[in-house]
Amino acid sequence: MEDLKLAAGQLFTPCPPESLEFETTESLADLEEIVGQERALEAIRFGMRIRAKGFNLYALGESGSGRHSVVEQLVRAQAADEAVPSDYCYVFNFQSPNEPRALKLPAGRGRSLKADMHQLVEELKSVVPQALESDEYRARRQEFEDVFREQQGKAFEALQSEAEAQHVRLLRTPAGFAFAPVKNGEVIDPEAYNRLPETEQQEIERTVAGLQEKLDDLIQQLPRWRREMQHAIRDLNRDVVMSVVGQLVAEIRGQYAELPEVLSYLDGIQADIVDHADQFGREEESMPMLAGMLMGEKEQSAPFMNRYQVNVLIDNGDLTGAPVVILDNPTFPNLVGAVEHQVQLGALVTDFTMVRAGALHEANGGYLILDARKLLLQPYAWEGLKRMLRSREIHTEPLGQALSLMSTVSLEPERIPLDAKVVLVGDRYLYYMLCQYDEEFNDLFKVAADFDDQMTRDPTDTRAFAGFLATFARREGIKPLDAGAVGRLVEHASRMADDSEKLSTRFGRISDIVREADFRARQAGNGAITAADVQGTIDAREFRHARIRERLLESTLRGTLMVSTTGTAVGQINGLSVMQLGDHAFGHPTRITARVRMGKGQVVDIEREVDLGGPIHSKGVMILSGYLAGRYCQDLPLTLQASLVFEQSYGGVEGDSASAAELFALLSALSGVPLKQSLAVTGSINQLGRIQPIGGVNEKIEGFFDLCSRRDGGLTGDQGVVIPAANVKHLCLKQAVVDAAGEGRFHVFAIETADQGLAVLTGLEAGELDGAGNYPAGTVNQLIETRLAAMAETAMKRSRELGES
């Protein structure tokens, strides 16, 4: 049994400061590479270099593994060497005002075009009205108006003269014109008219009717004459305005001669200004008033000149490489941009100047980093992103319009070609879910960068780990770490990985510990962070999270939760469970009991019967039946009825790490041999009786250790934990346990078989089959077999008696 007991040195693998070959991290160079993520780094580098369609990245790994910072670091390094992408501007579409036009310009030229257009409009505001106020213009315009007036006047005068010659007068009525018969210079009175002879009345009727025909013709002519005058004035406006605008626009054209898109836009502007020359000078005429109050600038209706503005959607003028955009709130509009609106007198109005860029616009020609979970949580953001990646175009549209929920006319900005690499950073389960359930995912995100959460604890990686700490300390401006602190962090990283041969790569968590240790070191006035600062931090974090653990421990110490740590008992054993509360895990012993009687060969899992046991736990219990059937009385029917229960367990039980303990409780109940209550057991068992490794071994051991050491009188020297031998390499126990084990006050037994466990727990030999197929007398197995055989015989006897009767 002593050979199963682990030495103190096996419980913890220290990292002595002297093994690190430096005094403080100050003497270490900055780490150029990312530690422990070769596979992920290779994938990211490949994903960034390849420009083919669909080769976007998904960086998957555990949270706190530094995925975000690593991805950002690599992407920024790559982007710095790439070309600065073009600017994009939205401008007014003179052919279709609802569909703003996108202009692509070399980086930095967008803002200059905006300034040039602003300057042009300012100049036009003074130059065009001046041209339209000139004597030449006024004289020519007056000429056209005079011609119209004269044409109109002469026609009416001629008609009036013709009417008067026939004793009829042309009168202006409230809505038009009418002819009235005149006698003695006055319109004939109706009574006098009625007294006229019928023939005279008929003559008047005919005269008036004839004149009215001519009046109708004349009135129908009026709009044509007016149109002719307006056309003549418009042509005059065009000539006058063209002479001033042409010169101003030509100056701007010279600056953009190599950009045909801009030249075509300038042509459009020139034609539009000429067509709308009358709008210049109106800007200041209308004083916006509402109920006698001056309206604020924003409430005014959009001035006509707005159409000549340039909305610089993307200004890459200040970039030195490709853009890297990290979008923290990936909503649909934040991704694809939005068409904003202004409230004017209760109505929502918009124009191309209110088109706002989204992250895809900003990252175009570069990289966009998104958190997968945040993206998937935003309504329609994921679908929107996929649509853009598939079409390789950015289509800015209101969400309601994208979903066809709105039928109102809104802006439909021209689509902009999309050439951005999207990097999603997310959890593994999300990646696999997307792979399985989203058919488009694999086509659009073809590169997976899988971040490992562990790395090997060898001298090379330990040095790299120290290098990471040195780089981190310098970058964050915190104190350097001495070798002791680094050693302690290496040990803690092993504990985080739950493996003495591995180091955790959850550098986010490790960084937090270093930051806190730095705080402690500064409080203590240390020049560097020491092992004591790191240990203090670990202990403090443990303490901050320990409320529930302490409550459980207290309940056990006060006897509310019944767990024996001394003496022996039949069919009763201490199992060990781990509770995971957020980031913090701790172990706690639980009493497991077993009862047996004659029955139909069933082992009943009470947890399962009441739906408190998970499937893996049930599987573990069922394996026990297999083990019993294969190990004992193979020639006799198994007539056992056994029940197993986790006492005082009111929550769910999952996992098979208690199956070994359950077996020992069952075997004790069958054999009647008492088990030592000073020991706790963890480990799963297979049908052949081999003990298999389990998770959380450190927390479990420490959980039982804490209970034993806190009981009155402290550790008795008999107490300890039985663990699978396969878990020995995972041991990274806290110093108190290691010290107690070194002093022989606490023991950790590593077992490979059920028989070894029985021997440790009962103090008796388990017993091996001899050549005749019998277990030696007095061994536990012999007692078990005897009991099972007796049960079988009794059952058979009963069966025979029943048959005879």
């Binding site: 009168l171 038009g176 009418a178 002819f179």
Partner: protein
């Protein structure tokens, strides 16, 4: 000689000329602290026409023919009258003027002539063509000018802005009255006065010089225009905001239909003690 202007009468109708006349008359009344009288006449000719079987109008914008009836015509004219009254009151309030509204019924010329006898100045739309002018405007203005004994302010919309008062002086009684009014208006408006003597007669110039000296306003004496076109050029050259001319001035005789070419309001002055010209003279 008294320059006191107590009442200014404005003939109101729906035409833009009438609106322009109202605006300018209000300015003038404010300058002279006179009462603003507005008159709208329910035209007897129209009322009679609407009762005739041949009473049909052709809409100016719709070009459709409609039968007229007395009730609708009366209602339409009264609506126009009410609109005119409101416009008068609004503008009087704005200029803090005393105002009164007269509603006549009968011959427009007769009614206005009768009202003009109680006014010192009548403001009317400028003589124009039938197609663009107000109802009866051309003929009415001619009639008023021929028969009334008061000064006429003639206006058309779209006059160019100008601050100077330009007065044509011939030495006649009407011209002298015009000079007095021009001096008064220039003083009230704090405007520069431009005198255009109608001949190079040294006696006229001497008289003018002494009267100018008495006026106390800043005066610029320009060259004598020899015809209507030169008068137009002079008014433009001096950026005239108002031309004051004796109604007997030879320069404007025979140019009634062209007064709008002057580009500014025209005040045809009428001497208080002179007898009205005959219709034949005015044409």
């Amino acid at each position: 000689m008294s320059t006191v202007i107590r009442r200014i009468l404005v003939a109101l109708d729906e035409s833009p000329h009438s609106r322009a006349a109202l605006e300018e008359a209000a300015e003038l009344a404010a300058g002279l602290q006179a009462e603003l009288m507005g008159m709208f006449v329910l035209d007897a000719d129209l009322l009679r026409l609407s009762g005739l079987p041949v009473g049909r109008e052709t809409g100016l914008t719709s070009a459709r023919r409609r039968a007229l009836d007395p009730v609708s015509m009366e209602r339409a004219l009264r609506v126009q009258a009410e609109t005119a009254r409101q416009a008068l009151e609004a503008i009087a309030r704005r200029h803090r003027l005393q105002s009164s509204f007269l509603l006549g019924r009968g011959s427009v010329t007769a009614e206005l002539s009768e009202a003009a006898s109680r006014a010192d100045i009548v403001a009317m739309g400028m003589i124009g063509h039938m197609g663009q002018a107000g109802r009866h405007l051309g003929s009415t203005t001619r009639q008023i000018r021929a028969h009334s004994h008061c000064s006429l302010l003639l206006l058309a919309p779209g006059h160019r802005p100008g601050n100077r008062v330009v007065a044509v002086c011939t030495g006649s009684a009407d011209s002298d009255r015009g000079f007095d009014l021009a001096v008064e208006l220039a003083r009230r408006r704090r405007a520069e006065l431009v005198i255009l003597p109608c001949s190079d007669d040294p006696a006229l110039r001497e008289t003018l010089s002494s009267r100018v000296a008495e006026s106390g306003v800043e005066v610029l004496i320009g060259a004598a225009p020899s015809g209507f076109d030169e008068l137009i050029a002079s008014v433009r050259t001096y950026a005239g905001g108002l031309l004051v001319v004796g109604q007997d001035c030879a320069l404007i005789q025979g140019h009634d239909d062209e007064l709008d070419r002057l580009g500014c309001p025209v005040l045809l002055a009428y001497a208080l003690d002179s007898s009205p010209p005959t219709a034949g003279e005015s044409d």
